[in-house]
C-alpha cells in the first residue's frame, strides 16, 4: 500500500525552526514504522537521525510520537494506524536535539531520584544461596519489572509536559518495582521521596501513560498503589 510519511526534522546546526519532510512510499501493511524510517534512511535521506537498536520492542530506544500518540516505532505496524498519512514526531516534554532524538537527561535523572535498586543490608542466607521469595510475593511486583525505560509514558503525561521535575510515571513504576519486592527494605525512603511536591501527587490520573506503555504495564494502577501505601502507611 502507499503511504505518505511525514517526518519531523530539525538540525540544530542548520535550522532555526523544525520542518516536516514528506516521503511517499510503498509499504507492506505489516511493516513497522521503524522499517519505514529505515527505508527513508536507506533510499531517501540518510541524514535522518533517530535512536533504535533491538527493533522488536525490548530495548526502549525508539519511543516517539506517531500520529500524535506515543509508541515504540518498532512496535507499531502500519496496519495498526489505519491511516494513509503517518506523521512521526519526537517525544514531547524533552528537548529536541536533532530530528527524532531528544535529550533523555531529565528522564534518567528522575529515574535515579527514586533509588531504583534493591536496598537490603540484612545478612544474606547463611548457606550463601538465594533469599527465599514465594511465587505470590514475586508476582506482587512482577508487572513493574517489565519496564524498559523507554519514556513513552513520562513524555505523554500532561503533568510532565508542564514541569519536567515531576518524577513521572516511569520513575514511579520503577519505585513500585522495589517498594513491593518482599526482599527490599528501602520502601520507606522511596515513599517519602514520592510524597514530596514533585512526587506522586502530581499524577492526575490522565492515563496517557498507561495507554502509551509498550510493555502493557498498568502504570496508573501502580501509581495508585504507591499513593495508597503512602496514605495508609502499609505496603501490601
Amino acid at each position: 500500500m502507499q503511504v505518505k510519511l511525514r517526518v519531523f526534522r530539525f538540525d540544530p546546526e542548520k535550522d532555526q525552526k523544525p520542518r516536516y519532510d514528506t516521503f511517499i512510499m510503498n509499504v507492506d501493511p505489516n511493516d513497522r514504522v521503524l522499517d519505514l524510517l529505515e527505508y527513508v534512511k536507506a533510499d531517501f535521506d540518510p541524514s535522518l537521525a533517530l535512536r533504535r537498536s533491538c527493533a522488536h520492542g525490548v530495548c526502549g530506544s525508539d519511543a516517539m510520537r506517531v500520529n500524535g500518540r506515543n509508541y515504540l516505532a518498532c512496535k507499531v505496524l502500519v496496519k495498526n494506524l489505519n491511516a494513509d498519512t503517518i506523521t512521526v514526531e519526537p517525544l514531547l516534554g524533552l528537548r529536541v536535539i536533532k530530528d527524532l532524538i531528544v535529550d533523555m537527561g531529565p528522564f534518567f535523572e528522575n529515574y535515579r531520584s527514586v533509588l531504583p535498586y534493591l536496598i537490603n543490608d540484612e545478612p544474606l542466607p547463611a548457606d550463601g544461596k538465594e533469599r527465599l521469595q514465594t511465587p505470590e510475593q514475586q508476582m506482587r511486583f512482577e508487572e513493574t519489572t517489565k519496564c524498559i525505560l523507554c519514556a513513552a509514558c513520562t513524555t505523554s503525561c500532561p503533568s510532565f509536559w508542564a514541569d519536567d521535575r515531576y518524577v513521572g510515571p516511569a520513575a514511579i513504576v520503577n519505585a513500585h518495582r522495589f517498594i513491593f519486592d518482599s526482599r527490599d527494605r528501602g520502601a520507606e525512603k522511596r515513599l517519602n521521596i514520592l510524597n514530596e511536591q514533585i512526587g506522586v501527587w502530581r499524577c492526575r490520573t490522565a492515563f496517557n501513560c498507561t495507554e502509551a506503555c509498550p510493555r502493557d504495564i498498568h502504570i496508573t494502577q501502580a501509581i495508585a498503589e504507591v499513593k495508597k501505601a503512602i496514605i495508609t502507611g502499609k505496603v501490601e
Partner: protein, 597 residues
C-alpha cells in the same frame, strides 16, 4: 587538553559483560563505562530464556554435568579449563544476581525456578535437565536492569552515547580509548591503564537476524585493525526459531516448555535428527535439520519455514508420548494460561508482529543469525591473548559476546551466554583493576585521535559514487546465502569475491550529513565498515576450515575432523587480506567423542 579523561580502567560497552566488569573493577580502581547506547538499551536486554547454572533446585544437577554438556555442545572445540571454571562459578554468580535483586521466577518453596533448555542434560539418564534459571521470558532484561541498578547504587561513572572508535596501544601495552561523543560529534581521549572491551556481537551482517541494529562488531573490528587476531570467527550460531522473515527470536524455552517443531508435512522432524532429546537438541543440530528438511522439500509451502507449536493440545499430546513428568513425578500437562504466563513476551511478539496467539496457532519460524562464538581471544581471566602461544597483551581485556574465551567452541548452548557475561565480565573487571593497581599509565601516542580522524575523513571525502545502504544490503544477503547455516567451498569463494568487491565499493561512499550533532549517518557508515572487515575475516576463516563442526557446517566436508581441525583459528586482518594461524584446544577431562542427541 580538552576532552581528555583519565581512568584506571575504562570499560567499553554497557551490556551485561560491561556492567559486570565495571562493578567489580570500580571496587578498587577508578573506573568509567563508555557506551554507544544508554546501557539499558544493550542487547543483553533481549535475552529471553534464561541463565544456566546447576543449582539443582528442582532435580539433581551438578556443575560437572553442565561442564560436560557445554564441552559436548561446543563440539569439543571449547577450552575445557575455561568451561569448567565457568560452570563452577555459574552457581555462585546466579546467587549473586539474586542478592542484587534480580526478580527470578520462583518455585513453590521460594527458590529460583529452573527450566529445561537445549543441550542441557542429566548426564546419567541423558534426559533434559532443568538448569536454566529464568525470570519469565525476559531473563536478559532483568539481568541488564539489575546490573544497571547496582551501578547506579555504586555510583559508577558512565559516558552514555559515546562510541568508541579506536583502542590506543603503545609499546605493546594499552594506553587508552578514543571515542566520539554522539551528542556533539567531539572526539574524546580516555587514557587508561586497563581497557575492557565488552561491545557485544556482530550479527547484523546477516539478512535474517535476531540481533539489534547496534550489533555491528565495533569492538572486534577496532582491535583487529590494531593488529590483534580474532579467534574462531567462522563459528556463528544460527538459532533455529526466529520469526519467519523478521528474525525476531523465539526462545528455546518455548521448546523447553513443551513446544514441538513440525515440517510442511506435519511431521515432528526432530525425531529423525535427535532421537533422544528431539526438539531440545542443540541449536546447530536443529538449524541444520531445518536446512536438510528444506532441501528435501519438507518446508512449509516450499517457503523455507517451519512451524513451532506450543498450543496446549500439541504440548500435552507429545508430553504424553514422551512420558514427560513434572518434578514431583506427575505427568506433565499444561493449560493455555500456564503457557502464556511462562512466555508472556513471546506471546506479545506473536500477537504484535504476526497477529497470532501462540496458544492457539503454531508460529512460523526459520533459522536466524544469532550469536558469535568467535571474537577477541582471551584466557579465562578475560586477558586478551594475541598469538598461538597465548601471549597476553598487558592492559587489554575482553568479555561477553565480543570475546572468545573460548567456552562456546563451535556452538554455544542456550543460556550459556548469560553465564559467560556474568562470570567473565566479573573476572575481567577484577583482573583489570588488579592490573591497574600495579601499573603506570602508558604515555599516549603523539596524535591519539589521528587514526580515528583519518577514518572519518575518508568517509566524508569519498567520491560518493556508491551508497552505503546498498552495500549493506548486498553484504547481508551474501552472508546469509553463502556463509549461513550450510557452507561450501564454492559458495565461500564466491562470498570472498563479493566481499572484496563490496569493500572496494565502500571506499567510494560519502557521508552526506556534514553535521556534528548526532551524525548517525556517519556512525552507521563507519559501523558498516566494521561489518565488512569482520565479514572478510569470517568468510576467510570459514573457507579454510575444511570440516564440519558445530555451527560451521560444510556440505563438502560433512564430517568432523579431529585429526586436522581440533584447533582454534586465529585470523589477523591485514588490509584487504587475512592472515591465519591456529592454536590448540585445551582438553582436560573429556576426550572428543561423536556428538549425538
Amino acid at each position: 587538553m580538552e576532552n581528555f579523561h583519565q581512568y584506571d580502567v575504562i570499560v567499553v560497552g554497557g551490556g551485561g559483560a560491561g556492567l559486570m566488569a565495571a562493578m567489580y573493577a570500580s571496587r578498587t580502581a577508578k573506573t568509567a563505562v563508555i557506551s554507544k547506547l544508554y546501557p539499558v538499551r544493550s542487547h543483553t536486554g533481549a535475552a529471553q530464556g534464561g541463565i544456566g547454572a546447576a543449582l539443582g533446585n528442582l532435580e539433581e544437577d551438578r556443575p560437572e554435568w553442565h561442564t560436560f554438556d557445554t564441552v559436548k555442545g561446543s563440539d569439543y572445540l571449547g577450552d575445557q579449563d575455561a568451561i569448567e571454571f565457568m560452570c563452577n562459578e555459574a552457581v555462585q554468580a546466579v546467587y549473586d544476581l539474586e542478592h542484587m535483586g534480580l526478580p527470578f521466577s520462583r518455585t513453590a518453596d521460594g527458590r529460583i525456578a529452573q527450566r529445561p533448555f537445549g543441550g542441557h542434560t542429566n548426564n546419567v539418564t541423558g534426559k533434559p535437565v532443568r538448569r536454566s534459571c529464568y525470570a519469565a521470558d525476559r531473563t536478559g532484561h532483568m539481568i541488564l536492569q539489575t546490573l544497571y541498578q547496582q551501578c547506579i547504587k555504586n555510583q559508577i561513572v558512565f559516558y552514555d552515547e559515546f562510541q568508541a572508535m579506536d583502542v590506543l596501544i603503545r609499546d605493546g601495552k594499552v594506553a587508552g580509548v578514543v571515542a566520539v561523543e554522539l551528542a556533539t560529534g567531539e572526539l574524546h581521549v580516555f587514557q587508561a591503564k586497563a581497557v575492557v572491551i565488552a561491545t557485544g556481537g556482530h550479527g547484523r551482517m546477516w539478512e535474517i537476524t535476531s540481533n539489534a541494529y547496534a550489533y555491528t562488531g565495533d569492538g572486534a573490528a577496532i582491535v583487529a585493525r590494531r593488529g590483534i587476531p580474532l579467534e574462531d570467527m567462522e563459528f556463528f550460531q544460527f538459532h533455529p526459531t526466529g520469526i519467519y522473515k523478521l528474525g525476531i527470536l523465539i526462545t528455546e524455552a518455548v521448546r523447553g516448555e513443551g513446544g514441538i517443531l513440525f515440517n510442511g508435512k506435519g511431521e515432528r522432524f526432530m525425531e529423525k535428527y535427535a532421537p533422544r532429546i528431539k526438539d531440545l537438541a542443540s541449536r546447530d543440530v536443529v538449524s541444520r535439520a531445518m536446512y536438510l528438511e528444506t532441501r528435501a522439500g519438507n518446508d512449509v509451502n516450499g517457503q523455507r519455514f517451519f512451524y513451532l507449536d506450543v498450543t496446549p493440545e500439541t504440548v500435552n499430546k507429545y508430553a504424553e508420548l514422551d512420558g514427560r513428568t513434572r518434578p514431583d513425578g506427575t505427568p506433565y500437562r499444561v493449560t493455555a494460561e500456564e503457557i502464556r504466563s511462562k512466555i508472556p513476551d513471546i506471546t506479545d511478539f506473536c500477537v504484535t508482529y504476526l497477529g497470532i496467539d501462540p496458544t492457539r496457532e503454531p508460529i512460523p519460524v526459520q533459522p536466524t543469525a544469532h550469536y558469535a562464538m568467535g571474537g577477541i581471544p582471551t584466557n579465562k581471566f578475560g586477558e586478551v591473548v594475541i598469538d598461538s602461544q597465548n601471549t597476553v597483551l598487558p592492559g587489554l581485556y575482553a568479555a561477553g559476546e565480543v570475546a572468545c574465551v573460548s567456552v562456546h567452541g563451535a556452538n554455544r548452548l542456550g543460556t550459556n551466554s548469560l553465564v559467560d557475561l556474568i562470570v567473565f565480565g566479573k573476572h575481567s573487571g577484577l583482573r583489570a583493576a588488579e592490573y591497574a593497581l600495579g601499573a603506570d599509565f602508558t604515555p599516549l601516542p603523539d596524535d591519539p585521535t589521528g587514526y580515528v580522524r583519518e577514518q572519518i575523513d575518508r568517509l566524508r571525502t569519498g567520491s560518493g559514487k556508491e551508497r552505503a545502504a546498498q552495500i549493506g544490503r548486498e553484504l547481508r544477503s551474501t552472508m546469509f546465502d553463502l556463509v549461513g547455516v550450510f557452507r561450501t567451498e564454492e559458495g565461500l569463494t564466491q562470498a570472498m569475491e563479493k566481499i572484496q568487491e563490496l569493500r572496494a565499493r565502500f571506499r567510494e561512499v560519502r557521508v552526506a550529513d556534514s553535521g556534528k550533532v548526532f551524525n548517525m549517518e556517519l556512525m552507521q557508515t563507519w559501523e558498516l565498515g566494521n561489518l565488512l572487515d569482520l565479514a572478510l575475516v569470517t568468510t576467510r576463516s570459514a573457507l579454510e576450515r575444511r570440516e564440519s563442526r558445530g555451527a560451521h557446517a560444510r556440505d563438502d566436508f560433512p564430517a568432523r575432523d579431529d585429526v586436522n581441525w581440533l584447533k582454534h583459528t586465529l585470523a589477523w586482518l591485514e588490509g584487504d587480506s587475512v592472515k591465519l594461524d591456529y592454536k590448540p584446544v585445551v582438553i582436560t577431562r573429556y576426550q572428543p567423542k561423536e556428538r549425538t542427541y
